[in-house]
């Protein structure tokens, strides 16, 4: 699906300044239908990595392939961008039109899709983010989470195979964050490959694979269970383990054998309640 080979990206702030490396030799591939989270602190290169997948950033060295198309091949540019949709951080700055449905239509219009087909796609896209009844609204009257859902619908309407989410929840309140997170997972279940760029570890626990970036390199990579079994390294990279994983580790140190695959707060709560009910009923009020 996506194959990145030894990707290097450098830039400079002006003619006379030093070259600043953003990515120094990243290689990875993303499986079709998978959910991959890329996490790292500010300046780790995660956002540059995301933008290089749909040719908004072209590699200085190395190559990026999307379904066989090289992002450096200018004739394949629109093929790549149609296949790789992108949702950005700021919900306000990525909506083009003053009416929701017109905004969703923007992508298909650019692709030259027939108006009747666009209408079908609007219906489908807005339904899948549960915003169809708001189709005639002006975006500035919606909440942050709703605006982000419209942005996602705008990408879905282009029928992409991959959607890259570049810190989509960073500017949202907890409610909006959950809405967007749920939509990402439901899209993934419907077969869309998801790449999530984030700096909230909590959001990565349900992904198939986690990639931790640091200083333009991949620092740690694997399934959530694998990655979270290196707490010391994660801390050294300036990141925090998810709350549930930390609590579970604490419980294990105190002789309570929490299963390895419990990663999120809800599962942990369930487990603790069950266990408490089994062993010491009196302790639960």
């Amino acid at each position: 699906m996506i194959r990145i080979e030894n990707l290097v990206y450098t830039y400079r702030h002006g003619e006379d300044t030093d070259v600043i490396p953003a990515l120094c030799g990243v290689s990875l591939s993303v499986e079709k239908g998978s959910f991959t989270s890329v996490i790292g602190r500010n300046g780790s290169g995660k956002s540059t990595l995301a933008k290089s997948i749909n040719a908004l950033v072209l590699p200085t060295e190395g190559r990026v392939f999307v379904e066989g198309f090289d992002t450096q091949d200018e004739s394949a540019l629109w093929e790549v961008r149609q296949r790789v949709g992108m949702v950005f951080q700021n919900p306000d700055n990525q909506l083009v039109s003053a009416v929701v449905e017109d905004d969703v239509a923007f992508g298909p219009e650019n692709l030259g899709v027939d108006p009747d087909e666009i209408r079908k796609r609007i219906r489908f896209a807005l339904d899948s983010v549960d915003m169809y009844e708001h189709r005639k609204m002006a975006p500035h009257l919606l909440s942050g989470g709703q605006k982000q859902r419209i942005a996602i619908a705008g990408v879905i309407a282009m029928r992409p195979d991959v959607i890259i989410f570049d810190e989509p929840t960073a500017m949202l309140d907890p409610g909006g964050r959950q809405e967007v997170l749920d939509i990402m997972h439901s899209l993934n279940e419907e077969g869309i490959t998801v790449v999530l760029i984030t700096h909230f570890m909590e959001e990565t626990v349900k992904s198939d694979r986690i990639i931790i970036m640091d200083n333009g390199r991949i620092a740690l990579e694997g399934t959530p269970v694998e990655v979270f079994s290196h707490p010391a390294e994660i801390e050294a990279l300036g990141l925090k383990l998810p709350f549930a994983v930390e609590v579970a580790a604490g419980l294990r140190r105190n002789g309570i054998d929490v299963p390895e695959d419990i990663l999120d707060t809800e599962e942990l709560t369930q487990y603790i309640l069950q266990r408490a009910a089994r062993s010491e009923p009196a302790a639960v009020h």
């Binding site: 083009v96 449905e101 992508g107 298909p108 219009e109 650019n110 500035h140 990408v155």
Partner: protein, 279 residues
């Protein structure tokens, strides 16, 4: 509070006028404005009033709402009225030192003031009954013939669409900046006009920086969604000239013809009437 400003003053309603093709409405309003300068007597104004009255009642926009549009230009109307009343030479009815009111002066004053009122009422009907987005589409379509001459019609329309989309966003941004500065002791409300204008400068600078940041983000997002100019682009709501538009065009043509007939055959009728009234 700053978000309450409605630009272009669109009045949402389901009327036949709202549903007409924006291109037709733009052209019709241009003809209407021309007709105001074609007719030269009060008989012609009766025609204009009749046409405007039918137009307004069909549009279902409350008259009160339309008249509100006159408020900001009331001073100009008054000025025109007084200037015409005192500065026209002719049969003197009343005089005090250098101020004199003539019969022709009163006639001209009323005539000119009414012309302004009709002008404003008519043209405000265009924005009241047409969504800004539709208006943009209409302008883009009407400018198409100039595309061959190198006029970037699609780009102009896209700029207008984006401007309309971002007015509320920028107003919000302004509000945020003002509040942030007020929280740190900035004062926008007291002092002379000059002082208050000066206090606005620290708002404009961050606002401009913010606007550029937004533009950069938006450009990136548009590119990611395959935007590559007007070439090969389809439109969700392409404008269609329907039967009701043809009917409206016909009515407009009849109206304009009547205005011309009025000019040709009834010119001078007013002068006779005025004489009869005064004598």
């Amino acid at each position: 509070m700053i978000r309450d400003i409605t630009l272009g003053q669109y009045y949402p309603e389901y009327s036949i006028i709202h549903k007409l093709d924006p291109r037709l409405k733009i052209v019709a309003i241009l003809f209407y404005i021309a007709s105001l300068f074609v007719v030269k007597d009060f008989c012609g104004y009766l025609l204009v009033m009749l046409a405007l009255g039918i137009f307004i009642s069909l549009s279902k926009v409350p008259l009160r709402f339309i008249l509100r549009g006159l408020k900001p230009i009331m001073i100009i109307i008054m000025f025109t009225f007084l200037l015409n009343m005192f500065m026209t030479s002719g049969e003197i009815l009343w005089q005090w030192k250098f101020l004199k009111i003539t019969q022709e002066g009163i006639y001209n004053a009323v005539f000119m003031a009414l012309r302004l009122v009709f002008l404003i009422l008519g043209s405000s009907m265009l924005t009241l009954t047409t969504k800004p987005i539709k208006l943009t589409d209409g302008i883009e379509s009407l400018l198409k013939p100039f595309k061959k001459m190198g006029l970037p019609t699609h780009e102009l329309a896209m700029m207008m669409t984006i401007a309309l989309r971002f007015i509320p966003t920028l107003l919000e941004e302004t509000d945020k900046i003002m509040k942030a500065q007020m929280a740190r002791g900035a004062d926008f409300e007291t002092g002379s006009i000059f002082r208050r204008a000066k206090a606005m400068v620290p708002i404009l600078v961050p606002l401009f920086v913010g606007a550029f940041r937004i533009a950069q983000d938006l450009a990136m997002a548009m590119e990611a969604r395959c935007y590559r100019g007007g070439e090969g682009r389809t439109k969700l709501n392409a404008l269609k000239f329907k039967r009701k538009d043809a009917v409206a065009a016909l009515i407009m043509a009849v109206y304009f013809a009547l205005a011309i007939l009025d000019r040709v055959f009834l010119e001078g009728l007013d002068a006779v009437l005025v004489h009869l009234v005064i004598k």
